[in-house]
């Protein structure tokens, strides 16, 4: 698995991908175990992100248009 950092939505999509791979029933036992580990890890990460109670509002001012 590549160590690319996924955003929340990508993690959720990968989670769903894992589910359909497992439900397909074509997995070897080793592959199923690996997918299980990855799935649990992803779902924990997603839950952690949703637990963030701090809401962030950034106000920026319109910049002067110096270039097109």
């Amino acid at each position: 698995m590549s160590e690319k950092v996924m955003n929340f939505e990508e993690k959720l999509k990968r989670l769903e991908e894992i589910v359909s791979l497992l439900e397909g029933g074509q997995c070897s036992l080793e592959a199923a175990t690996e997918l299980f580990d990855e799935g649990m890890k992803l779902s924990a990460e997603c839950d952690r992100m949703l637990d963030t109670a701090v809401r962030k509002i950034t106000e920026i001012s319109p910049e002067q248009e110096s270039e097109k």
Binding site: L22, L35, R55, I57
Partner: protein, 406 residues
């Protein structure tokens, strides 16, 4: 300046004079006139517009030169009510008094509506509103851009909806003017600023207002900027029923800023449920995967070959014994057969043996080493040797007698 002491003027001189009188009048050199357009012609080859403005009681001829007409945001038509800015003067060549129009705006709701329809049709023809260009909103936006007035209910509504539904998204708020002549430019600047920030989605809009307030969002340059956005844009101009040009240019239209926030921010509890469900499905699938293999393993372990492995050997032992026995038997048979053959051969040999004959009383007679088979082979006085069963006898022939066979 024409000398006024000449009392017979040429027409040119007269017209020139009238023109200078009109043009020196401050009031006439820049004023606004409202009226309805009639007798409209635009000479496409020249690009200049010729028409009349009237108020039902009086008319004035008007011309709008191509350089000014090019800036028009709508196409003037007969029957349209407009307000024109320009100057009144005289066209010297034919002495016609006319109004030189430098700018024109639609006047009144009807006129505004026509201008709206014209702009909408124009941008639609250019493909700005194509549904193929519309992008879906991200399901789970992590950064949301917001452009609206920093006073008023719109911004508060958006913040409170986002807090309720999805507080973990970051909001990047760029305030802008949402009414008045400076509003479109302010909104465009805000959009360009946010485009550099690259949020996942942008909400642009304002709360309810008069038709004039909301017409800010019918600005052509603003609509083009919205259409050129690198991220999905939700247009939220507080109209329940009517649409603005921005609404068409955006990827999605919401009737109000609150509604836009509801569309943009997902419900976090739904997402949590979804994650929990996915986790459940993973556990279930893996358990089924394992159980499936357990069942197969059990079934295999139940087979005799694995359960009673000794039996397999017993079979082999039995097979070996059987073969062993057969081997021994057939070997014995061979030996016996050979022995029997040998015995019969011996008997045949014995039967043919002369020794047996001799034992029965017959004797072998030799004379000078040769076997005597006939009585005529010897004569009286010959020395002969007679071999019997247990030895030999040396004899002398007394007489011989040959038997005569009939």
């Amino acid at each position: 300046m024409i000398a006024m002491d000449k009392f017979v003027f040429t027409v040119s001189e007269l017209n020139r004079y009238v023109r200078s009188v009109l043009e020196s009048d401050r009031n006439l050199s820049s004023l606004f006139v409202s009226g309805e357009i009639t007798d409209f012609t635009d000479h496409y080859r020249s690009g200049h517009l010729y028409f009349s403005l009237g108020d039902g009681q009086a008319k004035i001829k008007c011309v709008m030169f191509k350089s000014a007409a090019a800036w028009l945001k709508f196409r003037p038509k007969n029957g349209m009510k407009v307000i024109c800015r320009g100057r009144a003067s005289v066209y010297e060549r034919d002495g016609s008094y006319q109004f030189y129009c430098e700018d024109m705006q639609p006047d009144g709701v009807g006129a505004l509506a026509v201008a709206f329809e014209q702009l909408k049709a124009k941008l639609e023809r250019e493909g700005l509103f194509d549904s193929a260009k519309k992008r879906p909103l991200p399901e789970i936006p992590e950064r949301v851009g917001v452009i609206t007035s920093d006073t008023g209910a719109a911004v508060r509504d958006i913040f409170s909806v986002s807090e309720r539904r999805f507080p973990m998204a970051e909001i990047v708020f760029c305030p802008a003017l949402v009414q008045g002549v400076d509003a479109p430019e302010s909104l465009i600047k805000a959009l360009r600023t946010l485009y550099r920030e690259r949020p996942d989605v942008i909400i642009i809009g304002r709360g309810g207002g008069s038709a004039e307030d909301l017409s800010v969002f019918n600005d052509e340059a603003l609509a083009r900027t919205v259409a050129a956005s690198p991220v999905p844009v939700v247009s939220a101009v507080g109209h329940e029923t009517d649409f603005t040009i921005c609404d068409f240019a955006a990827d999605l239209r919401a009737p109000t800023p609150s509604a836009a926030a509801e569309l943009v921010f997902p419900d976090v509890s739904q997402i949590e449920d979804r994650i929990a469900e996915l986790r459940r499905q993973i556990r279930f699938s893996v358990r089924r995967c394992v159980d499936d293999r357990l069942v197969r393993l059990s079934a295999l372990k139940g087979r005799d070959v694995l359960k009673y492995p000794a039996r397999y050997f017993e079979l082999k032992i039995q097979q070996t014994d059987t073969l062993s026995t057969r081997l021994k038997r057939s070997y014995a048979d061979c030996v016996n057969a050979a022995a029997a053959e040998f015995k019969s051969a011996v008997i045949k040999l014995n039967a043919l043996s002369p020794l047996g004959v001799i034992l029965r009383g017959y004797a072998v007679v030799r004379h000078n080493g040769d076997i005597v088979t006939s009585a005529s082979a010897v004569s009286a006085g010959d020395k002969i040797n007679v071999t019997v069963g247990d030895g030999s006898i040396n004899c002398t022939v007394d007489s011989t007698e040959v038997r005569v066979n009939e």
